[in-house]
Symmetry: C3
Subunit: 261 residues, 3 copies
């Protein structure tokens, strides 16, 4: 497998689509990253909405442009609501994205995410341990931190992408995005991003939004990864993990497609 | 209808009352805006407390000075706890405020908020779509974003205010606050506030706090809107949506009644 | 009772242990402080993970290095999950820490926390009203704000520490940490910290992490209090409550043991 780089022209094109379409994203995500996820989507020009009751979630995922399911703080009632929302998104032809936080380490979420795979996510975004566990190739890490590199999980990502016909983004120091055939590599970012909660979870929301855009899904999802790497690299300059957060949102807000292209 | 402006002397007076009385505000709000709501109240000198269990919420709303009910991430158990808290607030003679997030777009919350209107909120704060839906005049928006201007919703706001004898704040580029007779207009703020999650929800918490103050409720609620517009306008200068947040809280903290008056 | 000061050499030593061991902390905390708590732990080099389902929480507290239970937004299902996690932590020999938010003021949490004391927390962190209520010596405050000074609660803290063989940190303008025999006093910080939500709750998470370190628990818990006072004092300089937050996280990140010692 040879990973392709992502051209700056493609990133600029996807950014233009993102801002033009401004997807309304139904986020069913964990308790820790709600605010940051919403602010990341808003900074990029999308509209977040968090709707969590099972009945309302099913109703709303037919209205929104895209759905995110992140199992970081899963409970039984939330699992039911998430499944209802995914079914409704499928019925309405809306794409949904899975973030399998800590899958492999904990039983309830591991079984739930394997069950969700039958509902055909448009994209999956996780770290190496999570993607390997989801593909059935590893026992997973101790928690949200990965113990493997993204490259090591690439075979698992490709197998998973082919198996259920989805786009898988396995992220880390380098992000790899694959549809099972092509593999795109995205570099950049900064280690400081691992000292700020929610950068991965918020990326999953941006991936979810990108699945609502016209054009090639693999390219749009890879560009979503690039938006975060570009803003993260800029925001890490001269900042600690606290001042990183406002700088990162500011950097997303001023990402400039023309300057990129 | 002729909207009155709000005098800087009135804003200064309400700010003085706010800081002097430092209301303890029981916030039952959505998952996305908990931290920001608490920090906005703290920056203005009030005390937030989030208590959500049905039994504890009923107990606490008799202790607190004011109650906020925001249905952004409503669930069935939360609806029960919110209703118990509103009933208890009424029994204790404490004012409660409704933020009908996305009412009109989603069924559970729409029915719940219409039910809550019978419990006589002291104030209601929403955007144009929400207020129109609550007054039964529109089908509402797609989510949290309004598709109407505040001015278009003013007749609905006035009808609603008269119908249940409350103060309605319909907010947008210009905020209109009415008790069904008088209408006060509040200008200021900045479009950047719409790119930061929770500015409207946090305003509702400040409105809830303002209902615990002595003096004219309409003037105090309009002043609450003005605190946010003033701080928002200042914080938007030279900031993106990330750096806006700390700047906004700092601006609320140093709002100066004497300089205003 | 004579309170000992905490030496800078001890603080430096505990900080070294903290960064070297980088504890994985299972945080079962309230809705308002999730993000800030996670970012505080990350800034200090620890790893936070929030797992809340009863089954998963019991599973995860056997994997993590330490557990935090904070009852700020307690519900009946959360109480069950917290108890399951504490039992599992005990079975696995992992330390757990209690933050009894607003105990004394509200019935459900007061009864629950008294019940939890039988499960032998490694540490308890609260304000004066909470510690006095937990020790059965006071009716408690109106909410999260204390109405007593930490010094006034010291006899209650000592009695509680002896009664269940734990370390109690009663925090305020001065923090007192006791195992029932020794008492350590920690000064510093800034009143601005009371205008930012979550500084106390995040301290409890750092205390929880400190209980997983080798060495004397009293010294490590007192050092945890000192990390927050040191960073808080620095972050308060020239900042309002909004800009305090990023500055505080940056200050935790660059706390320098060598410079301290």
């Amino acid at each position: 497998m040879q990973a392709e780089p992502l051209s700056r022209a493609q990133i600029a094109h996807s950014l233009h689509l993102f801002r033009h379409h401004a997807p309304l994203v139904h986020c069913m995500t964990n308790d820790v990253v709600q605010t940051f996820t919403a602010n990341v989507l808003l900074a990029l020009g999308a509209s977040p909405a968090m709707v969590i009751d099972a009945q309302e979630a099913a109703q709303f995922s037919g209205i929104a442009d895209a759905l995110l399911i992140n199992v970081g703080t899963l409970t039984q009632p939330r699992a039911q609501a998430m499944k209802a929302a995914a079914l409704s998104a499928n019925a309405a032809g809306k794409p949904w994205t899975l973030d399998p936080v800590a899958v492999g380490a904990l039983t309830l979420r591991t079984e739930f995410c394997h069950d969700l795979l039958t509902l055909k996510p448009a994209a999956i975004r996780g770290n190496a341990s999570e993607i390997m566990a989801l593909a059935g190739m590893s026992a997973g890490g101790r928690g949200v931190d990965t113990t493997d590199t993204a490259a090591a999980a690439l075979p698992a990502a490709q197998a998973l992408a082919r198996q259920i016909n989805t786009v898988v983004a396995v992220t880390g120091e380098v992000d790899y995005i694959t549809d099972g055939q092509r593999v795109v590599a995205v570099t950049g970012g900064d280690p400081l991003m691992t000292r700020v909660v929610g950068t991965g979870c918020a990326l999953s929301a941006v991936v979810a939004a990108s699945c609502a855009l016209p054009g090639d899904r693999l390219d749009n999802v890879a560009s979503a990864c690039a938006f975060m790497k570009l803003a993260g690299g800029r925001a890490a300059v001269d900042n600690g993990p606290g001042s990183f957060v406002p700088a990162f949102l500011d950097a997303l807000y001023v990402l400039d497609g023309e300057a990129l292209a």
